[in-house]
């Protein structure tokens, strides 16, 4: 399987503050990789470097063989931020196609009709609604559609479910699996939730406290397509336990 993301000796500092310390990593195309670690450890910075929003202080961050910043400029990376960041003056329909309306010459042949995606996430009745008329979960679904519509081969998600209540998170998790599976998209997903990481991922990367380095790389062999009730699987509990222990080990 081709490599989607390559990190070689990646370091990142802000002034004297080192946030990422020497990360080497390869992510295969089409895999879903979660990054989990203590609060403030630098995992969001890691995601931002991979997404081409930050430059590395040293080392390389490559997306499909080209520097991450160049890949971002060619719309090869779609970002889902922690807060949906919907523009309040645009309708759901217009928000969903926002990234397609910008830098149009970089739109590839793999873009997806946002209306079709909005239908898949159950927002057909809200196409002409404005963000203030939507719940938090619905807003996050629009943010997800906005990113997927780009048709980018790499999806970078920064704790997109963190602000949602438990029931909505669970629904979103199932929806996210259904949307991403089978599209061949490589996903990097930053989260604080162990169960979320295990339920969604093919690999879970556990990071140390700042400066972030990878202390464990756990393969999640729960199969694809992932069943909606994966969190009832005994193997799921076992994997959650492994990730939790890795986090505790890494914090020492």
């Amino acid at each position: 399987m081709p490599t989607a993301v390559t990190l070689r000796g990646l370091r990142k500092s802000f002034g004297n503050l080192e946030t990422i310390s020497g990360i080497d990593l390869e992510i295969a195309e089409g895999t879903f990789v979660s990054v989990i670690g203590p609060s403030g450890c630098g995992k969001s910075t890691l995601l931002r470097v991979v997404a081409g929003l930050e430059t590395a202080s040293s080392g390389d961050a490559l997306v499909y063989g080209e520097p991450a910043i160049a890949a971002r400029r060619r719309k090869q990376v779609a970002i889902v931020p922690q807060h949906p960041g919907l523009l309040p003056w645009r309708t759901v329909r217009a928000n969903a196609r926002l990234l397609l309306d910008i830098n149009t010459k970089a739109n590839g042949s793999t873009t997806t009709d946002p209306i079709e995606l909005l239908e898949r996430v159950g927002l057909t009745a809200f196409l002409d609604a404005h963000p203030h008329e939507l719940s938090g979960g619905m807003q996050q679904r629009v943010a997800l559609v906005r990113a997927l519509a780009l048709g980018a081969p790499l999806l970078a998600m920064d704790e997109p479910l963190a602000a949602l209540d438990e029931i909505t998170r669970s629904e979103m998790r199932v929806m996210l699996n259904q949307l991403v599976e089978g599209r061949g998209v490589t996903t990097i997903f930053v989260t604080h939730s162990i169960s979320e990481a295990v339920a969604l991922s093919d690999r879970v990367l556990v990071t140390s406290p700042r400066p972030a380095r990878i202390v464990a790389d756990i393969a999640i062999g729960l199969g694809r397509p992932r069943p909606d009730d994966v969190d009832d699987d005994p193997q799921f509990f076992e994997l959650c336990s492994r990730v939790r222990h890795a986090l505790q080990e890494g914090a020492r």
Partner: protein, 253 residues
């Protein structure tokens, strides 16, 4: 609109004009100092075409000045929002414009740009409206949501795309606030600068010079009506353009 929302302002105006009428009658005030509302209305009814034409002229002067000010303010505001150095360089100039009494230089501007031309009127209206519009534009554009800015940066949006899709809509609330403040100011400036160019200002200036109280107060009342209509139109425009904003959705109980 419910009945209370319609009746409340009407009731307020009836009380105001009744008190005004009673005050003038009770103290037998000369019409030049303060004419009775009933007398002003009678005078306006005698010359409706003159006042309508003059009102439209004043409205045109104020609107054109407003439009010029907004265009310049958006350009200067965008520069100020993008560079703190340029913002610091621009701020004292705008402050000078804002605090210098425009009435003191109206004559000089009129001589410079043509005493009987509309140009100086429009220029002064634009100049006086400029600081509030520019500060509003710069503040609004700078206040655009940082996460949305980053989202647009993630697809390599151009400066123009960021302006059009994010900064400009973000500046709308503060621009409308500035427009409401500037409406009265623009009309006052137009009125004072209109001598020799037509408009309510010319009628007022001539009436003042000739000691014609009824004519003067008819011009003043027309200005008040013009200002009210302008603000109503501005509110309707704001509701149409900014229906998504919390200020347009919140109703006081």
């Amino acid at each position: 609109m419910n009945r209370t929302r319609l009746l409340a302002p009407i009731a307020g105006l009836v009380v105001f004009f009744s008190a005004w009428e009673a005050l003038v009658r009770a103290f037998d005030i000369r019409p030049f100092v303060l004419a009775k509302p009933s007398r002003i209305v009678r005078y306006l009814a005698q010359f409706p075409d003159d006042y309508l034409r003059a009102s439209l002229t004043t409205m045109r002067h104020a609107t054109l000045g407003f439009a010029v000010a907004i265009v310049v303010a958006l350009m200067v505001g965008a520069v100020m929002a993008a560079s703190s150095f340029l913002e610091q360089a621009t701020q004292p100039v705008l402050t000078l414009i804002a605090v210098t009494p425009f009435a003191a230089y109206i004559g000089s501007v009129k001589i410079g740009l043509g005493a009987f031309s509309e140009k100086p009127v429009i220029f002064i209206v634009a100049l006086v409206s400029l600081p509030a519009f520019t500060f509003a534009a710069a503040d609004g554009m700078r206040g655009a949501d940082p996460s949305s800015r980053e989202l647009l940066a993630s697809v390599d949006a151009s400066a123009w795309e960021v302006m059009w899709h994010l900064r400009l809509p973000s500046a709308l609330p503060s621009l409308f606030t500035a427009a409401k403040y500037n409406t009265g100011l623009a009309l006052v400036v137009a009125y004072l600068a209109e001598r020799g160019t037509g408009g309510l200002g010319e009628i007022g200036a001539r009436a003042f010079a000739n000691n014609e109280g009824d004519r003067l107060w008819a011009a003043i009342l027309s200005m008040a009506i013009l200002g009210t209509i302008s603000l109503v139109l501005l509110n309707l425009l704001q509701r149409a353009v900014m229906g998504w904003h919390a200020s347009q959705r919140t109703q006081r109980s």
